[in-house]
Every structure is written in structure tokens, then in C-alpha cells.
């Protein structure tokens, strides 16, 4: 078994807001992230897959194919979009870094031929990132 990681980037807007709470409570918990006009980040996505090396091709997965899957399933949906307003999974779920990692896992799980999804890591900025390994 070997691990392989591919990166991708997307730039998106979001805000943190729980509709069940008052404005005051949202601002207390989320601080400036609760600003309703939103703000944005350059996210870096790292997708790690696990698999066996094909004895003929020497590949775990065709990187071009993995790149195309990330583009189709994630980047084309998230990039230059407002996550709360334009991406369906965040209509009812706050687009925190943790939830973005989980949502990307759910988008990719089962879609990568010949390899198993191992980890989704999302950097909101270089000093803050979330990991999801599919654990529930």
C-alpha cells in the first residue's frame, strides 16, 4: 500500500452563521467570520489516496485522471463561488474548514478508480487546516 497526494486550489467566499441563533450569539461565537457580507480565502486542497502500485504502469492512480476528478467534483463547483449561497451542501451546513473537508470527502468518496480515499486536507490559510479521514 502506498499513499499519493494531489493538490488543487480554489478561491471562495463564505461566512459563518447559524440561523437558529440571534445576531448577537452568532457574533459572539463566530466573531468577524459572522459578517453577513462574507469574506474569502485562497484554499488549498490536498487529497491523499491509498492503493497498490500497478505492476505494469507503476501507478497507484493516473494523476491526470485524479486531477480531472478534483477539477470536476470540487474546483469547478467551489472556485470563485460563494460557498453559503452557491454550493448546495452549505445551504444548511456552515462552511467551516472542517465541514469543507468533510464535504469534499463526500464528493470524492467512491469516485477515484483503483485507489481508496485516505485523507482530505483543506488549508484555509497556510497556518490553519483541517483533516478528514472519513471517520464517523
Amino acid at each position: 500500500m502506498i499513499l499519493l497526494t494531489r493538490k488543487a486550489e480554489f478561491s471562495s467566499a463564505h461566512y459563518y452563521w447559524n440561523d437558529a441563533w440571534s445576531q448577537q450569539e452568532n457574533q459572539r461565537v463566530f466573531g468577524k467570520c459572522a459578517n453577513r457580507n462574507g469574506h474569502g480565502h485562497n484554499y488549498t486542497l490536498e487529497v491523499t489516496v491509498a492503493g497498490e502500485v500497478d505492476p505494469i504502469s507503476g501507478f497507484v492512480v493516473d494523476l491526470k485522471e485524479l486531477k480531472d476528478i478534483l477539477e470536476r467534483e470540487v474546483v469547478s463547483v467551489y472556485d470563485h463561488r460563494h460557498l453559503n449561497l452557491e454550493v448546495p451542501e452549505f445551504a444548511t451546513r456552515i462552511p467551516t474548514t472542517e465541514n469543507i473537508a468533510i464535504a469534499i470527502w463526500n464528493r470524492l468518496d467512491g469516485k477515484i478508480p483503483s485507489a481508496k480515499l485516505h485523507r482530505v486536507r483543506v488549508y484555509e490559510m497556510p497556518d490553519l487546516f483541517a483533516d478528514y479521514y472519513g471517520e464517523r
Binding site: Y16, G31, T97, E98, D127, L128, A130, D131, Y133, R136
Partner: protein
């Protein structure tokens, strides 16, 4: 049995500090042999990058493993205010312990185990761009 997803949140903090690797149990020659230029008498310094990983169930109301502001406040009080721009050898944890980055990593891990907001999973410290240390070694928990 819960269906909530378990995720990990990592935050990187920067600590600039000096240290000198020297132990009383060794002769001057042994100290020089073990630690080389790290044994120079007046110490030297690093821009440490301290990467703290906490893990837990993602709270449905907040979408978070823990509140980042709480983690940052804890780090400010317990990591940055204590260690940043300090000489590690002069600080209490290293009164009788050589401040290698191995020992610094274990000490920082002990500190963040006290963080009330989420369970510490791992501390990773980059001493330089070429050296990094992780404790505990098992990851994820």
C-alpha cells in the same frame, strides 16, 4: 452511537527562542562531541513553527471541532507568552532537561493536553525548514 463526523484541526504558531544543548552529565569534550555547534556557550536561536492538531466530533451547530479563538487564546497564554523571544534554557521545564526540540515538543504536547476545548492529537515542531519533530507518534488517534 453517533453519526457525527470526526475531524482534525491544525493550527501553526511561531515561536522564536534561543537554546543551548549542554548537559551536566557530560564532560566538556562529551558535550562538544554530542552537540557540536549547538553546544556553543552563549546559545543560538530558531524560528520554531509549532503545529498543534486537535481532533473531535464536528459540532453540528458551529461546524467546528473547537472554537479557533479559544485555541488561539490558550496558545497565546500558555505557549507564546511563555516561550516566544525567550531563552529556553532559563525556563522552568528545562531547568534539569536539555531543550532539544524533542524535549520541547513533548513539553508543548503536555501543555496542549490541558486545552479544555478539544482533545490534543499531536504536536509537530519545525525547528528549521529541514528538521521537524512530532509527538505523540501515533496519528490520527
Amino acid at each position: 452511537m453517533t453519526d457525527a463526523p470526526k475531524a482534525y484541526l491544525s493550527r501553526r504558531y511561531r515561536v522564536s527562542a534561543s537554546h543551548r544543548l549542554h548537559v551536566e552529565a557530560y564532560t566538556p569534550k562529551q558535550n562538544r562531541a554530542a552537540y557540536g555547534k549547538c553546544n556553543n556557550p552563549h546559545g543560538h536561536g530558531h524560528n520554531y513553527v509549532v503545529e498543534v492538531t486537535v481532533g473531535g466530533l464536528v459540532d453540528d451547530a458551529t461546524g467546528m471541532v473547537c472554537n479557533l479563538a479559544e485555541l488561539d487564546a490558550f496558545a497565546q497564554t500558555n505557549l507564546l507568552d511563555r516561550f516566544d523571544h525567550m531563552n529556553l534554557n532559563t525556563l522552568e521545564p528545562f531547568a534539569a532537561l536539555v531543550p532539544t526540540t524533542e524535549n520541547f515538543t513533548i513539553e508543548v504536547s503536555r501543555i496542549f493536553e490541558q486545552f479544555p476545548g478539544a482533545k490534543l492529537v499531536r504536536v509537530r515542531i519545525e525547528e528549521t525548514a529541514n528538521n521537524s519533530f512530532e509527538y505523540p507518534a501515533e496519528y490520527p488517534a
